[in-house]
Symmetry: none
DNA sequence: AATGAATGAGGATTCATTCAT
DNA sequence: TATGAATGAATCCTCATTCAT
């Protein structure tokens, strides 16, 4: 593919990008485990070792992919939230959030292993950078949410996003079972209970959650807390 | 330890149980990956191969442990729900559900990998049995929930439990980061946002979710659905 | 080669032995680095993993080989020392020690890397066993030396053997240079100084050392010590 | 640090020197394996590739360090030998030789791997130069030895030095075992036999060796030889 | 039922070295 | 002379699982 040297920073960035791209494609077709560093290298037409020049570990490579997918997602959400009226309905907001997630199966699949796997073999600096990237977007997009849904107080926007994250992770696990479970469910009408539609369940749960938050705010009850 | 042959069904069951027990203890101290079949065998005083007489795969062994942990959890929840007044508050119910989960770190840790890992290398029959076990409890305990929280319609009890499952999985991931992330969070006040208290967040989110469901019911709006 | 299972302890021992044997042959033809676990497995006709059933690490395998070579050497030395008159000459003893070493190039090559490499990736128990094996022979053979050379006091026999060990290691390094050094020496008469004959130098140095010890004893000077 | 180009021979020499210096410091704190070319480059403030402008291989770099350490050692020995009376005692000479070695742990550690490792990946010219450097010093310092210890015949001075080299290598291996062996020795009184004091053993052995040579000379026996 | 020897797949990673600029 | 991107070789070891006895 591209054999020449990446001389300047731009070209280096480009090569980084092509590695992430290759990883994305490989991951889309298979799974985290099935993607090997050698495979990525081959796909880009570089030597195995070269991948490690750009990403110190496999986890770091995937974290970069994750960051990119998140970036794209945040951008879409931001754009669409900005497009909503100042006083949009909960339903509209939930729809924006869920629809934007729906087509990003790579994103949700990675989110589901982010904390278990990706954040494992990574150095301090990279971890820090990633978390700050996340924080920035959480605050920005959270701010937009707070503007769109006035019942949200400052800080609750980010909180909602974190809860969505948790929901995505949980539902990803529940709604996308392995082949054997799928087979069992397909053959056992009794178990339809477990045939969960990821998107729909996310949408309903999120909506309900927001209703709950709205009500809490309306009844001017002090914010809920445990114990 | 126990070297003799397990002749009758009883003794076999007993041996199965001691294997699960050993697995539980090992898992409590370490992690899924760190628990090896050889380790379990040694702890029970059996030969490596013998473990496979009782559990065809490592996943099957852990699924059995999972089932047991769930059984215990359902029992506690059932007992405590039954102890609540007919018209208990959302807060009380949320407290029952969360408190019962709080001390069962093995349970939540396993739930977090159940769908990714445990349900992977398992045959049809075992999967079926497990899912039906789950379904039975979901219906039973879900029924109790519906009785306790009258605004829940038939079937919503089980639905709530599934959502709790999703929340547990998601929060388990978010709230229990690996060592490097912990270190980063500890040293970066900016990132306190990510220092999530598993129990508290579960409690608040669940409570809010139930409020939302209660409100939906109250406004007699037809059940929410997407699109 | 041998495919059947090693059932009893005897057969296991035999298999261990055949692995050591294969290692020895491979090592004789090449070098420590060039011998791979996979190569050993293949030579014996076993699967790669099987080697690790018998030896936890590559180092442990080579240590076992080392032990065997030492055992053979000690046996020869013991036999030959026992064959000498009670009052053998220093020259005779030195000859026994050197000649027995001369044809054992695998032994000396391994000795030269024993402490650097072999004793590196090995557990406590194995290390302990090896050192005690060594100690036992050092005392036995050292005792024979003391009997043969009456000027040696108790304990000096083992000491002499340790010094021989040091000499072997040092001379192995000096006398068997790599190919480039060999080439340089071959083409540069000036440097004949460095063309050391391992055996001869060992013999002379050992002999001189023993003379020195004999003299020390004769002049009834108290044993030498530093500072 | 030093970024500018080294134009003239002087500056080149200076840069070479700073690379050797950096290597020395790194090696003192760690080990040969742990010292990486990249690390050396970084320490000096140059790019990785630049190191290879000055030293074609890692071995060449360490050989240069070795040469320097030897140079310093020879200088000290020469100075101190020159300071001894014409008819110094064996003990005095042995003390000079051993004391001068004692504080040069980098030197002895490198000597112990010189022939195994350093002389491996080096071209003809460099090897030749190094060997001739060595020869010159061997003859010079050897000559001083012969003057100081009159029983040494011409050529025996250098021979003694080579034997010291062998002893250093051998004792370095014996006296400085890896961590596991250290642990085993620490916990097993039986094995004190193996707890060798490098300096003391070197001193005693060398002294004994010299006594032996003196005796040989005194009895006017023709020089020892094998067969 | 119990044993435990045998299997074998599977992949990240390091670093000295090269070479185009 | 300096750079630093690119290279690629090279291998140990774990552990779930099988199967002959």
């Amino acid at each position: 593919m591209e054999k020449q040297r990446a001389r300047n920073a731009d070209e280096k960035q480009q090569r980084r990008q092509s590695l992430i791209e290759a990883t994305r494609e490989l991951f889309e077709q298979t799974s985290y485990e099935a993607v090997t560093m050698a495979g990525v290298a081959e796909k880009v037409g570089l030597a195995k070792g070269t991948v490690f020049v750009y990403f110190k570990t496999k986890e770091e490579l995937f974290l970069a992919l994750q960051e990119q997918l998140l970036q794209e997602w945040f951008e879409e959400v931001d754009r669409r939230l900005a497009g909503l009226a100042e006083n949009a309905s909960i339903e509209q907001v939930a729809e924006v959030l869920c629809q934007s997630v729906q087509q990003r199966s790579s994103l949700t699949r990675l989110l589901a292993i982010l904390h278990t796997t990706l954040e494992q073999n990574i150095d301090f600096a990279t971890t820090l950078r990633f978390k700050q990237f996340l924080r920035a977007h959480l605050l920005t997009t959270g701010g937009l949410l707070e503007k769109t849904l006035p019942f949200l107080t400052t800080g609750q926007g980010a909180q909602v996003l974190l809860r969505i994250d948790a929901l995505i992770i949980g539902l990803e696990h529940l709604a996308k079972p392995g082949p054997m479970v799928q087979q069992v469910l397909a053959q056992t009408p009794d178990l339809q209970l477990f045939a969960i539609n990821f998107y729909q369940e996310l949408f309903v749960t999120l909506q309900t959650l927001l209703y709950g938050m709205a009500q809490n705010a309306a009844t001017s009850r002090p914010p809920l807390h445990s114990q």
